[in-house]
């Protein structure tokens, strides 16, 4: 029989190990972990640094099927220093992949905009692959109101 103290220790140890309880309430569809795995696959597992990527989403919207997004990366976009690709993933869509954009020095400015689907309130992650091989990420959250997700 486990005592209360043992249980507390056990849960404490699990939390300390970074093992969340998500396996208890795993929903159908993607979890943030799937988005991270997908992003790692796209970027070839390179180390990710924060900063340098700005992602602009509306703070809240009831038009979940067409959410405007603008992503810009701080880069001079010269022959020696440019953005190779921008990958965009969503943490809680049924499948995490949104899009990948391939750029080069010919673009002059690393800024793209498009429209995406978000089925519920969630975080969108943009990862920029730079020409020197480093990967920079930026995140933004969008609240979906009105109950009509993009699945319809």
């Amino acid at each position: 029989m486990l005592s209360r103290r043992d249980l507390l220790l056990l849960f404490g140890a699990m939390a300390a190990n970074g093992m969340p309880f998500s396996w208890l309430f795993r929903e159908a569809g993607a979890a943030p972990r799937d988005a991270k795995e997908h992003l790692a696959k796209l970027t070839g597992g390179a180390e990710q640094q924060k900063g340098g990527v700005t992602i602009i989403l509306p703070a809240a919207t009831d038009q979940a099927r067409h959410v405007p997004v603008r992503i810009s990366v701080a880069s001079p976009m010269t022959e020696n220093d440019y953005v190779k690709a921008i990958h965009v993933v969503a943490e809680r869509n049924p499948t995490p992949a949104i899009a990948s954009f391939h750029l080069g020095p010919a673009n002059g400015k690393a800024e793209i905009s498009t429209r995406i689907r978000l089925i519920k309130t969630q975080i969108v992650i943009a990862a920029a692959e730079m020409s020197d091989g480093s990967v920079r990420i930026g995140k933004a959250r969008c609240k979906i109101t009105g109950g009509a997700g993009a699945c319809g």
Binding site: R65, H66, V67, M77, V88, V89, A90, N93, P94, T95, P96, A97, I98, A99, S100, F101, H102, L103, G104, A106, N107, G108, K109, A110, E111, I112, S113, T114, R115, I116, R117, L118, I119, A150, C151, G152
Partner: protein, 109 residues
């Protein structure tokens, strides 16, 4: 479908100016997430590949997946050093492609 591609390209630009280009395709972009009332999943059907070429050279490419909205819209930038034509090519998963051409001229002086 009538006029499925829309593009917006400035008519003129100064040398080495960075111009903003916009394009939109009329396409349902079925995500493969939807279910019909009988429980059948609507099959995925995307126009997943967009390429922009300037005088035959690729300047921008996008691979769009299920998270992209229907009637996909894209805006991006290109530095232009000469007059020429932009080709906007959208391709779906079956390999059918559709394209539109827009010219840009260098400003005098």
């Amino acid at each position: 479908m009538r006029n499925p591609i829309h593009v917006k390209v400035p008519r003129t630009a100064a040398k080495n100016e960075v111009v903003r280009l916009m394009t939109k395709l009329n396409h349902p972009m079925e995500s493969g997430w939807r279910q019909r009332l009988d429980g059948q999943t609507v099959p995925k059907a995307l126009a997943g590949r967009f390429v922009c070429l300037f005088n035959g050279r690729e300047v921008f490419r996008a691979d769009l997946d299920s998270g992209t909205a229907s009637d996909p819209y894209l805006s991006f930038h290109v530095r232009v050093a000469e007059s020429g034509e932009f080709r906007f090519v959208w391709t779906d998963e079956d390999g059918n492609s559709i394209e539109k051409i827009a010219r840009i001229e260098m400003k005098e002086g």
